[in-house]
């Protein structure tokens, strides 16, 4: 299954609305202008994820992971490489204590930021689908891509797809890039795409 240009444009637009809200929330929270954008949206079978992510995320990865459940269920993740994670924390905390490592406090900041972003996107889809999804408490992991994908994909029988959104946080002339990944079952994905198309049509009519 692949997204048509129209579908991917529509998803991008929706994601950008959610990102605009997240950017505003983060700006207020941190006292500095945070802009988020989603230049690229693509859909992949989960089996392709190692190939898609590997070239962008070498080394250790910081992932903020939330499970969501309800009529649409799956995993939502924000992925940053280690350096990006450190830099993002420094930028968001105004570089109070620039450091090359992620201590517990830095991990909490990342968890909070990831949580805001993931909730904004999932909340957006939930509203669109008019369904109520519930979220797990977000967890932050530091591991290699292989380890991450292993724990994410094993034990899930039915074929799954991942919506991969390339993201960029822009703060104080710096950009930190990462990926937002939503892993969904085929059924959930079908439903999501239908709703996205319906939304897109409504936009056209309005």
């Amino acid at each position: 299954m692949e997204l048509t240009d129209r579908q991917s444009d529509a998803v991008s637009e929706l994601i950008n609305i959610a990102f605009a809200r997240t950017g505003a929330a983060l700006s207020e929270l941190t006292g500095q202008r945070v802009i988020l954008n989603a230049p690229e949206v693509s859909m992949h079978p989960t089996a392709e994820l190692p190939k898609v992510l590997a070239k962008f995320l070498p080394g250790e990865i910081a992932s903020i992971h939330q499970v969501f459940a309800g009529p649409v269920a799956g995993d939502a993740l924000l992925l940053l490489n280690h350096d990006g994670a450190v830099r993002l924390t420094d930028l968001l905390t105004d570089g109070q204590s620039p450091s090359s490592r992620l201590d517990e406090s830095a991990r909490e900041v990342l968890t909070e930021v990831g949580n805001i972003l993931l909730n904004a996107c999932l909340g957006m889809f939930g509203n669109l689908l008019d369904v109520h999804v519930s979220f797990s408490v977000p967890r932050l992991h530091l591991e290699t891509l292989d380890e991450l994908l292993d724990s994410l994909l094993t034990g899930k029988g039915e074929p799954q797809y991942a919506l991969v959104i390339y993201t960029a946080f822009q703060i104080r002339d710096s950009a930190v890039r990462g990926f937002l990944v939503m892993v969904l079952s085929v059924a959930s994905l079908d439903r999501l795409i239908q709703e996205v198309e319906a939304w897109e049509e409504r936009q056209g009519q309005a």
Binding site: G70, S97, S105, A106, E108, E112, G123, F135, V137
Partner: protein
């Protein structure tokens, strides 16, 4: 699977609630969907000093009005929509204002991480649960760790800079050593070559004289190189001491000019002066100031083509005395001008090869002038347009009688052209030196002036000779084997005047620091003559000693 009946489930719920309330190590706060507080556990009671009875049933946003002020109420709103929120310590500090022990952490309020989640029943949010963790200690520990990491990083960076500087200094030293050995070897080549030829005895008289003249000139040039090197090394190690007195500059300048005039004449360079006798006096070391002017003049002569001119001017400018050495020489390019006084820095190697020298002279000039509290600057309109050096020295009010410069710098005088003062004729001179070459040089010069000379190689021989030869004047090296020159003069001065105890004496030595000179004079010598000895200077010293005869 064990079946749990409704009764057992209720029991478990009750047990869970009791655990949550009494034993949990976190603050746990439960509200209903209207944010009215329904549970406030013991941890919260203990840390907030607010009892459950006081808050149960009240709205959390009313109990803690600051939540709204800090816009944290939004998080509860989002949770009521089904989201889960994490509030990090670093971005928020705390959720609820709770006191903490300031002395342990430096924080006045407990640092917290909070998680707020919806309580959902049948797909409907029926309340919220907030779990608060006290992270004060952890944050304090992290800050401490961070400070340590930063300190280590800074230390590492400093170390890196220091290493780079050391490497650079080392590199400069290597380069300098290479230059030094080259420069020292150049005159040596001439000395060795010509002395070899002279020793074969195959040179005719004219060639023989030329050989000697060449050897002499090169030895002098090498001597100058070594003096410069020693000066630089003393300046670098901070061991150079100035013998400061109130001095008049005109005699010092004139002495330096006289010393360099032969070199200027040889190139047909016109050397003129404009000395204002009212400029000065200044507080300075006469020898060192003469060296400054001598270096500037030598430099000017070196870089001025034949037929050029050099002007030396002395004048008062405000509270300063300015000595200007102006030449019509090759000038200095704009790029090199700022580096002209740098130690071990040479202008382009081509120029240096053409003119010789290590370029130490100007570096010494700057150091000496600065030691005098003065400044030196170079000005040039560019290449081919001449150079002007200006030395500014602070003027001092006259405090004591000015002392005239006593010693002139080594000059290029042919030993055979020494003017012999009449007082040397028939004078009995005892020379004490353990080096045969030096003894023979002294003997040759003094005998040239018709003195009677006896030479010995040790202090004990000297005492014997003193008794037998009854010299008018004693000249002794300080570095003698067994008993040195100080011991010798002690023993001599201990003798009665009939036995030569008052014989005027001069010390010969390679140690020429001011403190050495003081020690020499205090120990009983009348004069001090630095090595290597110049024939003219030797003659002057012996003549000076001769005038003291009968005065002691």
């Amino acid at each position: 699977m064990t079946k749990t009946g409704p009764n057992e489930e209720t029991l478990l719920d009750a047990a869970l609630l009791r655990w949550m309330n009494d034993l949990a190590g976190h603050g746990i706060l439960i509200t209903d969907a209207d944010l009215n507080i329904r549970a406030w556990n013991r941890w919260l009671e203990e840390h907030s000093e607010v009892s459950a009875a006081e808050v149960i049933g009240r709205n959390i946003l009313e109990v803690y009005t600051e939540l709204e002020k800090r816009r944290l109420d939004r998080h509860y709103k989002w949770v009521l929509e089904g989201q889960t929120r994490v509030l990090s310590q670093r971005l928020h500090g705390h959720l609820l204002p709770l006191p903490t022990d300031t002395s342990l952490s430096g924080f006045t309020e407990m640092q917290q991480t909070a998680r707020i989640s919806p309580l959902i029943h049948d797909g409907r949010v029926i309340g919220t649960i907030t779990v608060i963790e006290d992270v004060t200690e952890r944050v304090a520990r992290e800050a401490e760790l961070q400070a340590q990491v930063e300190a280590r990083t800074q230390a590492l960076a400093r170390e890196k800079v220091a290493r780079r500087e050391a490497e650079e200094a080392n590199h400069l030293k290597d380069e300098f050593l290479a230059t030094v050995s080259h420069e020292l070897r150049t005159p040596l080549t001439a000395i060795l070559g010509w002395s070899n030829m002279a020793l074969t005895g195959k040179l005719n008289a004219e060639a023989h004289d030329r050989a000697l003249e060449t050897i002499h000139r090169n030895a002098q040039s090498q001597n100058q190189l070594i003096s410069d090197l020693l000066d630089v090394s003393r300046i670098i190690s901070g061991k150079l001491r100035l013998d400061l007195r109130t001095v008049e500059l005109p005699p010092i300048i004139e002495a330096a000019i006289e010393a360099t005039r032969p070199a200027a004449d040889a190139k047909d360079i016109l050397l003129t002066t404009e000395l204002d006798p009212r400029a000065g006096p200044i507080n300075g070391d006469a020898d060192r100031l003469q060296q400054v002017i001598w270096n500037l003049l030598t430099n000017a002569i070196k870089f001025t083509p034949g037929g050029g001119r050099i002007l030396v001017r002395l004048e008062s400018v405000g509270s300063q005395v300015e000595i200007t050495v102006e030449d019509s020489g090759i000038g200095i390019s704009r790029e090199f001008l700022p580096h002209i006084f740098d130690r071990f820095r040479q202008a382009d190697p081509g120029t240096n090869r053409m003119h010789g020298g290590m370029g130490l002279g100007l570096s010494i000039v700057r150091q000496l002038v600065e030691l005098h509290g003065g400044t030196v600057r170079a000005e040039s309109e560019g290449e081919g347009k001449g150079t002007t050096f200006v030395v500014s020295l602070p003027f001092v009010a006259l405090r004591e009688e000015p002392v005239m410069a006593e010693r002139t710098l080594p000059t290029a005088i042919n030993p055979l052209e020494i003017e012999c003062p009449p007082s040397l004729q028939g004078l009995r001179v005892l020379v004490v030196d353990d080096e045969a070459d030096t003894r023979e040089l002294l003997r040759a010069v003094l005998e040239h002036c018709k003195s009677e000379v006896v030479t010995v190689g040790s202090a004990s021989e000297a005492l014997e000779a003193l008794a037998q030869f009854r010299p008018d004047v004693l000249i002794s090296d300080l570095g003698l084997p067994e008993e040195d020159g100080y011991v010798l003069i002690d023993k001599v001065r201990a003798l009665s005047s009939e036995h030569g105890g008052q014989t005027p004496a001069a010390a010969l030595t390679a140690y020429v620091r001011a403190e050495d000179r003081m020690r020499v004079l205090r120990s009983g010598f009348q004069l001090h003559v630095p090595k290597p000895i110049e024939p003219a200077e030797l003659v002057a010293v012996v003549a000076n000693l001769a005038t003291r005869l009968g005065k002691g």
